[in-house]
Each structure stands twice: as C-alpha cells, then as structure tokens.
C-alpha cells in the first residue's frame, strides 16, 4: 500500500485509548496512535512534519511526540500556565501558545521565548497562522480577534511593545474558532463566535467582508481551499454550509437553507467543535462533543464514516501526510530544543546556551519587496499572454472566428430590422 496523501489527525478529551490518532480519510481505518495524556481543544499541531505537539488538558505542559515513534511520549514542555491553544507556524520556525490572556511565541531553532503578547483581556481561545507564516490571528473570550504581523512581533525593538496590525472587534460574544484561508497576507479569515455569527475578514486591511447570522452559536468554522463554501459547526450539532459565490452584495446575511449552496449537514448530536476540509474540497471532517468524528462528502452531504471516541473530540483535522510518519526508522532533522520560560535568556542564569544565535529583523532593515498587487499583475499578464497566443495568435483560428462573428452580426442586424419594422407598425397603426 502506498502512503496516503492526506491523513486525519484527531484527539479527544478522555485519552483512554490514545491521546491522538491518525486515520485514513477515505476508509476511517486507524493508522497510528500516540499515547499518553490527553489534549485540550485547538491545541494539537504538527511541527515541521516531524513532531506532534499537544497541550495537556488542564495542565501546564505540552506533550511532544516524534511523529514516527508512535507510542512513546518524547518529552513534555513545561509552560508558565495552562495552555488554552497552540499553533505551530507552517514553515516550522515558530510555535505560538495561548496561555491565559497572553500569547507566547517561541522560536523553534533555539527554544527562545521571543515575545509575550498580552493584548487580549480574557483567555485566548484560538490561534491560527496564515499559510505563509507571515501573519497570525488570535481570538479570545473577550470577543476580540487580533491580526498580528509575525515579523513586527519578533522585531528586536525593546522600546516598543508589539501591536496587532488589526483589531477585529465586531463580535459581541466570545470567539470560538478561526480559520485562515490560503494566499498568505491576502488571505481571508473566518471567525466564529457564540453570538451566532460567522464573519469573514480580509487579513491585509482588517475589513469585514461578510457576516452570516445563524440560529445557534457557532463553535467551529472552515473554508474549502477554493473558498466556494464556508462550513460552520453549530452548537446544536448541525453543520451549516454557506455558499460564498452567491450574487447578493449585502454584507450582513441571515442563514437560510436554499438550493444554491446553503445547506445543512445533519448527524451530530452535540456541539461541533472542529471542522476541516480536505485538499481537494470534497471531504469534510467534523468532530463533535457527542464523541464522534465524522467524515462527510461535501457534494452529497452524506456521512461517509464515523469513528467513536471516548470523550469530547477536541481536535480533528485533515493534514497532508508528513513524510516521516510512516517511516519508522527516520529521524527528525533538528532535535527539539529546550523551551525557555523567560523572555530574556540571560536572566535565567544558566550559562549553558546552545551556542546558537538568534536572528531577528531590525525595525528598519526590512527590504521593500513588490506588493502583492504587482505580483498579481505579473501573473495576470503571463496568463493573458498564454490565452492571446492560443486563441488569437493562430492565423487559421482567427479566420474561422472572424467568419463566425460576421455571421452573428448579420443575424443580429436582421433581428434588429425586424424589431424596428414591428414597432413602427405598432406605432403608426391608426386607432
């Protein structure tokens, strides 16, 4: 059997059978499981395709497994407080953890604690990176979602405390889940909240693009990769699919099911706490507090399989299968460093520094690079060049096309003439 492209990673709050396990997205059969402890919600993350990190529920440490050594807990990272959410950057360089009101940022290469961001007033409930690791979004129980620029956060400028680039403050109840779309800084972010709305924002400007109101509080949210649909897990166990290509222009909508894309997946009996869509957008994974993980076919809205867990499902996600996962004799490229618990390593007093050097961008040394619009322009002209060549470049094609168009003009002229005669007749008719 060849190694699967994508795998399902899920964890529950009981941790009786396993802490987290890897399943086949198509059949639901279990590949691997990792034992020891359990994982709190929104805190299971894969670091660099080599480690799995999961925060222990209600305790102040993070469990770490090497991804190929399934049964064995590799190490525990002790944190300053109970970790409420955890996220590793897609490029594997940084790890973010929400600990009470603060966000802690570690650098993976050295284990240094780079920043403690305390802009939230209450517990942080969710942190997500954009796919290029340039920005991250944090949501808290204080109704706020903050968009941060990673490079401005790690800047070595002690005089200035890092500020978020945008504060999204339109939710009126705690934020439960965040999903970042693709496209790096040009991505769109969806935030779900207990105030029964899901809002879609633009990362670059912080503007709200869409707000959808539901009948129930929303516990989880995700896009498909093309952003055709928004999937929202309700607190009543329904999963709502919202079409994002509808033609209505209003920013505030109320959800109602209809034929063009707004549909409901029914099956769960309790809060739907996690949602994830596969890379091709055909499969939807959902985990719920009714202790099941279900896989749905997006097109037909049928449940393909479901797996029973022993506790509330805290994490369920479809990820591209890491290369090391099924190679039992592989090793991580970099050993996991010790995580520092203090901001400034020199205060710690233990002189056993790793000898590594911490690289951070200075405030003014960032080079100006082309804006995303310029890049998009370039791409567009490239695409145009291709179509121009294939459609209009060939002499033979052009002739055929011209004759077709002339034919069409003729018909149109005739129709126009008929219409004119008809209307003159109608108008000049004596009555």
């Amino acid at each position: 059997m060849s190694a699967p492209v994508e795998v399902v990673l899920s964890a529950d709050s009981a941790g009786q059978l396993f802490n987290c396990a890897v399943f086949d997205p198509h059949s639901g059969s279990e590949f691997l499981s990792y034992r020891g402890g359990n994982t709190s919600s929104r805190s299971l993350t894969v670091l660099n395709g080599e480690y799995i990190l999961g925060a222990q529920l209600g305790k102040n440490f993070i469990n770490v497994w090497e991804i190929q050594r399934k049964d064995q807990l590799q190490q525990k990272i002790v944190c300053p407080g109970i970790v409420t959410c955890l996220c590793a950057s897609p490029d594997g360089l940084y790890v973010l953890a929400g600990i009470a009101e603060a966000i802690y940022l570690w650098e993976m290469s050295t284990g240094n604690l780079l920043a403690i961001l305390s802009r939230h007033y209450q517990d942080v409930s969710c942190i997500r990176f954009t796919d290029d690791s340039s920005h991250f979004v944090s949501g808290g129980k204080d109704n706020l979602a903050l968009i941060w620029n990673l490079s401005s956060v790690v800047q070595l400028d002690s005089s200035r405390t890092p500020e978020p680039c945008h504060i999204l403050s339109r939710h009126s109840l705690p934020i439960t889940d965040i999903h970042c779309g693709l496209m790096g800084p040009q991505a769109r972010v969806a935030t779900a909240s207990l105030d029964q709305t899901v809002k879609v924002w633009e990362v670059s400007s912080g503007e709200m693009l869409l707000s959808v109101l539901f009948d129930v509080g929303i516990m989880s949210v995700t896009f498909d990769p093309c952003e055709y649909f928004l999937f929202c897990g309700g607190s009543d166990g329904n999963i709502f699919q919202v079409s994002l290509c509808s033609t209505s222009l209003s920013r505030d909508k109320t959800f109602q099911t209809d034929s063009d894309g707004n549909q409901v997946f029914k099956g769960h009996r309790n809060l739907v706490t996690c949602l994830s869509v596969s890379m091709d957008g055909t499969l939807l994974l959902s985990g719920s507090n009714d202790e099941t993980v279900r896989m749905w076919d997006v097109q037909s809205k049928q449940c393909i399989w479901s797996i029973n867990h022993k506790g509330h499902v805290t994490n369920a996600v479809i990820i591209p299968a890491p290369a090391n996962m099924f190679l039992a004799d592989s090793h991580p490229a970099v050993p996991l460093p010790r995580f520092s618990r203090h901001l400034n390593p020199s205060e710690q007093g233990d002189g056993t520094g790793s000898g590594g050097m911490c690289l951070r961008l200075g405030a003014s040394t960032q080079e100006r690079e082309g804006t995303y619009l310029e890049k998009a322009d370039e791409l567009y002209s490239l695409m145009c060049a291709v179509t121009d060549k294939s459609v209009f470049g060939d002499g033979e094609n052009t002739k055929v096309r011209v004759s077709e168009l002339e034919e069409e003009v003729k018909t149109l002229k005739k129709i126009n003439k008929d219409l004119y005669e008809f209307s003159t007749q109608l108008l000049t008719k004596p009555n």
Partner: protein
C-alpha cells in the same frame, strides 16, 4: 400856506408805536396765504407690454440703466425697484443674473452710504434665491468687487464690504472659501498696514505688519477690529467646514478628538458576470484601499496636495504657518490692547469689559481655527509643534497672566455660582457688535488653545509646562466640580481639554484629579439629556479607546468607580430612557467582555435586579438592549440560585421573545461545566444542582408556588377532572403555550446533550415525581412539556418508574380529551399531538397504561364519542400501529364495552368511524376474528 404845512405834516406823520398794540400791516406786504404743490412724474406713462414692471412701470432694463445714474437718490431708487421687481417675479433673477449681479457688485464701492446699503440688501435678497452652483460662474466677479471694496481707501466702504462678506458667507461659504488666498491678506490689511522696509528693523521678527489706528472712523479701533476678526473667524470656519472630510479629523467641534481614526471604506460593487468575457481590467486596490502597507507606493486617496485645486495652499502646515506668522503677532497686539496694556493694576487684571472679552474670544477662536486648517494629523502635529516653538512664551505671558478672566461689571471674583446673573446682565446690556461672550466661554476656549500646545509625554517638557497647565487644571477642576450646570457646548469643550490633558500628561495624579471633577459633574442630578449623554460618551470612549495604550488611565480609580456604578444606574434608569440605557449597555458589554473586575463585581451584585422578571431591565427595555443583556450573561462570574430563578422566570413570562429566551438558555448551558465547552475548570460559574433545577423550572414554566396557587382556584379556563381526563387541566393562552413550547424545545435539546443520559433522566424523573405528581390541577403547557421531554431524554436501557408512568398516562389522556373538547389553534393541536404520540411510541408501557385506564363502564353517555375519537386517532397513527397490535386484546375489550354500553338505536357516525379504523388497523389474519367477536 398853512394848509400846505398841514398837508406836509400829514404826509410825514409819525406813528406812535405803543407797547401792546399790533403793528399795522404794511401796504406792500406779500400775501403768503397760498399753497403750492409740485408735480411728480414717478411713473412712465407708457404701458410696457414687453415684460413685468415695478409699480412705477419701470422694467428691468430701465432699472439697470438707472444704476449708472450720477444721482445717488436715483441709484438707490433703482436698487429698491429692482428688489421689488425681482421679489414679485423670481424667474427674472435667473434670466438676468449676470447683468444684475455685475451691476450690483459694482455698487459695493459706491461713495454714497445709502446706495451701498441698498445694494447689500439687494444682494442678500438675490442670494436667497439663487443656489451656489448657479452663482459660481459670476463669483469671480463678485469676489473681485468685494476685494476692491475691502481694500478701498474710504473706511465707510470698508465697513460696508464686511456686510457684503457676511451675506456671501451666509449663503455661499463654499465658493467664498476657495478665494482664501486673496481674502486672507485683505483681512490683514483691514486692521493693519505693511511696515515700511526701513522702519521695522527692531520688530522684524514679528512679521511685516503693524496695527493701524485711525481716528476718523465711526467706531472705536477696538470695535472695528472686533468686527473684522468676527468675519475672519467665520471665514476660516467656512474654509474648515467646506473642506472635503479627510480621515482622522472630523470637523465636529468638541468631539473631534474622540473620533476614531479609522478611514471608512466604500465598497465597489463588481458584477462578475459583466467581466467574464470582457477584456477590460478591473482596477483592484490593495488592502481594500483603506490603509496602505508601509511598502505600498501608492495611496488610493490622492495626497492633500492634489485636492481638486481648492485649498491647495491652506492644507499644508507651511502655508498655514506663513499666514499665522503675520496674523498671530497682530492678534497678540490686539489682545494686549484689549487687556488694557500695562495701565491696569495687577489685582484686577482679570476683569474685562464685555467688548474686550468679545475681542479676546474672537482671537482665541481664530487661533483654534488656524490649527484646524490642516486636515492631516501629522500636519497638525507639525503645526502644534511650530506654534509651541514660536509663540508659547508669548501666549504664556499674555494669555495666562490673568487667567481666568471675569467680567468687569461684576466687580467680584469670578465664580460659577453667579454665572447665570452675569449672563442675564449681559443679555440686558449686550449691545456690542460682536455679540456678548460669557467669561466661561472665553476661559474654556483659552484652555483649548493652550492645551493643544502641550506636547505628548516627554518628561523634560512636562516640568516646563507644569506651571500654566497647573493653572488650567485648577480652573477646569473648579468649573466642573463646583456644582454648577454647564451647557452641553461648554461641557464638550471642557471635556476635550480634559481628554487632551489626560492623554498628554500621562500622570496618574492629574488623571484622577481631572476625572474626579468630571465625575462630580456626572453625579449631578437632573442633568439635561444631552449633557448626560455627552458625559457618558466621554467616559465610555475614554475607557474603550485609550484604555489599552495608557496604563495610567486603565488604573484610574475614578474610571473604575464609574464602571462599577453603571449597573446600578441601569437598574435605576429602568425603562425611563431607553436610549440612555442602550448607551450604558454599550459600555457595560465590552467592559464585561474584557473582564473588568470592578464592573463584574457590581454586575454580580445587581444581577438579580437587572434580570428581575417583573421590572428588571431585561424585560422593560427594547429588543436590542435585551439581546445585549442576555449576551452580557456570558461574562457573569457566577450564577447563584436566586439569579437562576429570576432568569428562569424571565424565560417563561413571555416578556422576552422566544428566540431570546432560547439564547438565554443556551448561554447558561454553555456556562455550565456539564456542557463540556468551557475548558478552564478552576471556578464553576453554574453549579450542577442549580443548573438542573434551572432547567427543570424552565421546563415546567411554573414555579411551585404558582402551581400550588393554581390548585385552589376555580377559574373559567379549568377543565374539571373526569374519568376521561384524570387531571383537571388549566388551559393557558395560545401565546403562552407556544412561547413555552419553544422554550421546552431548547431545554430538551440542552438536556439531551448532557453527558450521561440515564443519570440526567433519573434526576428529571425524581423532580417530576416530587413536584408534579401529586397535583390535581395542571396547566396544559406543563403537561405538554413533560410529554415532550420524557421521550426525548429517555435512555433505551433505563426503566422509568411506575409513578412517573402513571402520571404521564394521566397527562396524556387529559391532553387528548382536552384537544377534542375545546377549539384549539392548529399549531397548538399539532404540538400536543406530536408530544403525545412521541411519548406513547417511545414508551410502549405508557400506551398500555392509557388503554388500561379507559374504563368504559364509568363513562357517561356524552363521553363515549370522545373516547371513540381518541381511540380512532390512536388507531390511525401509523407509528403506533405495532404497539396497538400488541395491546389488541385490551383494545378489543374496550371496543366491545363501548358498543355494549352505547344504547342508542341508530349507529352514530363516530362509532362507524371507530369500527372502520379498528378493522383497518387489525386487518390481516386477525381481522376476521376480531370482527366476528365484536358482533
């Protein structure tokens, strides 16, 4: 000879004049007893049928030509005539606008005063009739004549030019403000003259102008300057207001500093269908065009330099600096003169005449406007810094020397208490040209001007500014806290000063000091609504906006006290002013979301009153506020049992909508650790016992006291108990029933998702047995709720107790017979059907018990049809068919009894129906046997 002599004597006889006798009239005296009359020819004899005319038959051409007449009376008459003609025929204005305006404008500089006055009157009239865009083409002409008049050598013409300016400012501020380059210098020249290059060597630093003093004006130099400055002030105001609004600075007075700095984004609607095949490109702006990235090279909004040609010079700090550089020294000189120079002894230097006060007020207003001329915030900062560098010492020396100022007539120390009297006096005596100005207004404006000069938190500057800022602080504190009532305009200005001082000074002492004063003002009773709103807005903005950036504000005790007082105010306000309540909630909600300790404590303390089911805010306020109140519940630290009791009643009394009630129930469900959502387990907001009792109370919808009271009443809505309806059912109104039904739906859903179903059901079963089973009178909504929740919550493996099942069967039977006997709405009937059948199909024993309890023998004649209908309904239901089959013998027995006891001769319809249903249901192999047995 004698006769000759006599004759001669007779000729020259001397007439003796005596005192008291009349002098005889001389013979040659002229008789003046006639009267004469002049012959007037004011009207032309011709009958002009060419167009409308005045009452003197003059048409517009005649009038216009007369304007060139040499005689001023004729010119004036023509102007009056024009006015008459145009007011009678407004359409003429449009036709002849160009001619009329140019002729009238030419008369601005007429040497006769009455002609000028008439011209101004005519202009005022015309301006009322023509809109700004129609005048725009003639405006260069108008403004040229205006400039000419303003710079005229004759002072009377200069004075009248200001009247013209008034008219234009009133009606065409936008057009006038485009002419600022010329007009501003004109203003300067009105009150000053250019120094000769040679003479000004010692004072050259103060700009090239010196104040003029002319002795032959009709008014004093001071009054003249006042009138000029008044116009300058209103002109600058027009310039500021007519500018298209830029982000960051709004032109709202007072609240300008509090406005958010975020630019608004206007969305461009693109319909993709149109662009599918189009080759045309869509212009896309990065970041929604709102805030450019630091890397971005372009801005969506053009730079200020390119704003449509107008204002292009007054936007940047440099040009304003240039203008201010000449104006400010002049104004300082005027100030000094108004303040009386050095001749006034120092102890009464703060007392001013009304005129001087008006003059000073104007000066300060103009200073304020100068600062607001620059639209961009960074430019404003540059300008502030420039003002500070150039003029701080002068301002400090002149403005602050005698601050605060008072009015001279009241020869007492300035006190707020007699502010009213001062105003009354001023109204009585106020004849000064510039209107009268309260000393308070002057002082407040002075504070505003001075405070803008203070810089943001730099330690060395702070010490330097401490002296004069201290004076201002003392003034503000006294003004706010001595119990006087302030108008909202003054208060807004004062609050702006307070805001600025708090933000710039960054000291906790100052913050607390000032906020304390504002808080004293806030605590006054009987404030006008606008004032109250203003204060509320001030505090809430202070909390929400500046909280994060300024720890000294966040730690302020006053702010904490204010926050803590909000829930109390909400309770006291009740339903008297919903807008104010909504505003309170707008602050309470974010503060609660941020977990502000003071607020949450206070909220916790007052929760029971806020969420009181009878007169709490949650029931009396409008829907939007109710929603907020329910959302605030999310952040409440704990839910004691009393609060839950209140909330349960709130859900059921029907004064909040069903959707809001479900939201409330969900909130409590989520806050409970039983729901499994909140992960932090260190403190438990809702205890499990309280949680379950809340849900049970909400499920029944009636408290135990109400149920108890119901047992003893005999109301009309009561159905007496009988064999067919073992419980006597109290019918509730349809509205209440449906509301409760929605609530029950949500309660069932929440209970359904609890972890252990068996235990949960056990608890509910015990609660029902303990609280409801003994009752004789039961409301129908309670019956329906019980019937609804039991099948939904019942675990397959759990065996319900007999007591419960008996009670349920009683409920079921009572409800069924109730439905058949009373006219009910379709929705209610459907709901009850659904509940009964769901209960009976999930719990087969229940059906059996229901059938067992049907003793046909005990029924009277009238009840037989009802029973038959119930049975046929049960038989018709497909889901129940299997269970009915299981009880076939029992059923057969009942039907036999029924036919037996029914003694009627003819076979009634109901019996036929029942037998038909029976046969259809039991069709199959048992059908024949069954039929045979019956007959």
């Amino acid at each position: 000879m004698k006769t000759k002599k006599q004759k001669r004597q007779g000729d020259f006889q001397k007439i003796q004049l005596k005192v008291g006798k009349k002098k005889p009239k001389a013979d040659n005296a002229t008789n003046v007893n006639f009267r004469s009359k002049a012959i007037h020819l004011p009207e032309q004899l011709k009958h002009a049928d060419s167009g409308p005319t005045t009452h003197r038959q003059l048409d517009i051409k005649d009038l216009l030509s007369k304007l060139h007449h040499i005689n001023s009376n004729i010119k004036q008459g023509a102007l009056v005539g024009l006015r008459e003609l145009l007011s009678a025929q407004p359409t003429l204005i449009e036709l002849h606008a160009s001619a009329v305006l140019s002729e009238v404008a030419a008369l601005f500089t007429d040497k006769d005063g009455s002609v000028r006055a008439a011209a101004v009157r005519l202009l005022r009239f015309i301006a009322q009739c023509i809109s700004a865009e129609r005048v725009a083409p003639f405006f260069p002409l108008l403004s040229a004549h205006l400039t000419c008049a303003m710079t005229h050598i004759s002072e009377a013409i200069q004075e009248d030019a200001l009247r013209v300016l008034d008219v234009l400012l009133e009606h065409y501020p936008g057009l006038l403000s485009q002419r600022h380059t010329v007009l501003l210098t004109n203003f300067l020249e009105l009150i000053s003259q250019k120094r000769k290059a040679g003479t000004g060597q010692d004072k050259s630093g103060k700009g090239g102008f010196a104040l003029t003093i002319s002795t032959n004006r009709s008014v004093t130099a001071q009054q003249w300057r006042l009138t000029v400055l008044l116009r300058l002030g209103s002109f600058l105001q027009a310039v500021v207001e007519e500018r298209p609004l830029e982000e960051g600075v709004t032109s709202m007075i007072g609240l300008g500093m509090w406005a958010g700095e975020k630019g608004s984004v206007t969305s461009v609607d693109v319909s993709w269908e149109e662009h599918v095949f189009g080759k045309g490109r869509i212009q896309v702006f990065e970041n929604s065009g709102a805030v450019p990235t630091p890397h971005s090279t372009y801005r969506l909004r053009p730079d200020s330099k390119a704003v449509a040609g107008m204002n292009k010079e007054l936007c940047s700090a440099e040009t304003v600096q240039g203008f201010a550089g000449t104006l400010v020294p002049l104004m300082l000189e005027i100030w000094v003169e108004a303040a009386g120079g050095d001749r006034v002894q120092t102890d009464s230097g703060h007392l001013l005449s009304a005129e001087a006060m008006a003059l000073m007020f104007q000066i300060l207003t103009i200073l304020q406007l100068l600062r607001r001329l620059t639209p961009q915030r960074d430019q404003q900062d540059i300008l502030d810094a420039w003002f500070r560098n150039s003029y701080l010492t002068d301002f400090k020396h002149h403005f602050m020397k005698n601050f605060p100022y008072g009015l001279l007539e009241v020869a007492r120390h300035r006190k707020k208490a007699d502010g009213k009297r001062i105003r009354q006096q001023q109204v009585a005596t106020g004849t000064v040209a510039g209107g009268n100005v309260e000393p308070l207004a002057l002082n407040v404006t002075l504070c505003q001007v001075m405070v803008t000069l203070s810089l943001r938190g730099q330690d060395h500057v702070e010490a330097e500014d401490a002296d004069w800022l201290g004076t201002i602080r003392v003034f503000i504190r006294e003004t706010l806290s001595n119990g006087g009532k302030l108008s909202s305009k003054h208060l807004a200005a004062l609050l702006e000063v307070v805001w600025r001082m708090i933000v710039t000074q960054r000291s906790r002492v100052v913050t607390d000091d000032l906020l304390q004063a504002v808080y004293v003002q806030y605590q006054q009773r009987n404030l006008a609504v606008s004032v109250r709103t203003l204060l509320l807005h001030f505090f809430s903005q202070l909390y929400i906006q500046e909280h994060q950036n300024h720890p000294h504000i966040a730690r302020s005790r006053i702010l904490a006290r204010w926050l803590a007082s909000l829930p109390v105010q909400l309770v006291q306000l009740c339903s008297r002013n919903p807008q104010l309540s909504a505003q309170l909630l707008e602050t309470i909600h974010p503060a609660a979301a941020r977990g502000n300790k003071d607020l949450l404590q206070s909220l916790q303390k007052n929760a029971c009153s806020i969420y009181d089911p009878q007169e709490g805010s949650v029931v009396v306020l409008p829907v939007e506020s109710q929603k907020r109140l329910v959302q605030i519940l999310h952040f409440l630290p704990t839910f004691p049992a009393e609060l839950l009791a209140c909330l349960s009643q709130v859900c059921n009394t029907g004064r909040v909508s069903a959707s809001l009630a479900t939201m409330l129930i969900r909130t409590i469900h989520l806050r409970s650790p039983l729901s499994g959502w909140s992960s932090s387990s260190q403190d438990v907001p809702v205890k499990d016992v309280d949680y379950l009792s809340f849900f049970f109370t909400t499920l029944t919808g009636f408290s135990s006291e109400m149920l108890q009271a119901l047992q003893d009443t005999d109301e009309d809505g009561l159905m007496p108990s009988s064999t067919l309806s073992p419980l006597s059912v109290f019918t509730t109104t349809l509205e209440q029933f449906l509301h409760h039904w929605d609530v029950v739906e949500e309660v069932c859903h929440c209970l359904d998702t609890l972890g252990s179903r068996a235990q949960c059901f056990d608890v509910i079963q015990n609660a029902i047995i303990k609280n409801l089973c003994g009752l004789v009178v039961v409301p129908d909504c309670v019956c329906a709720a019980i019937l609804r929740c039991v099948p939904r919550l019942l675990d397959v493996n759990f065996l319900p107790s007999d007591t419960l099942l008996h009670f349920l069967s009683d409920c079921c039977l009572s409800m069924l017979s109730l439905l058949l006997q009373l006219e009910q709405s379709a929705r209610k009937r459907d709901a009850v059907w659904e509940a009964c059948f769901a209960a009976m199909s999930t719990v087969p024993r229940l059906l059996r018990l229901v059938l067992q309890s049907l003793h046909v023998g005990d029924l009277c004649e009238e009840e037989l049809p009802v029973l038959a209908q119930i049975l046929s309904l049960l038989l018709q239901h497909t889901q129940l068919r299997n269970h009915m089959m299981a009880n076939a013998s029992l059923l057969q027995h009942i039907i036999q009894d029924l036919t037996h006891f029914y003694g009627g001769e003819t076979r009634e319809q109901w019996l036929t129906d029942l037998l038909y249903c029976y046969s259809v249901t039991l069709s199959g192999h048992r059908a024949n046997m069954g039929m045979r047995d019956i007959y």
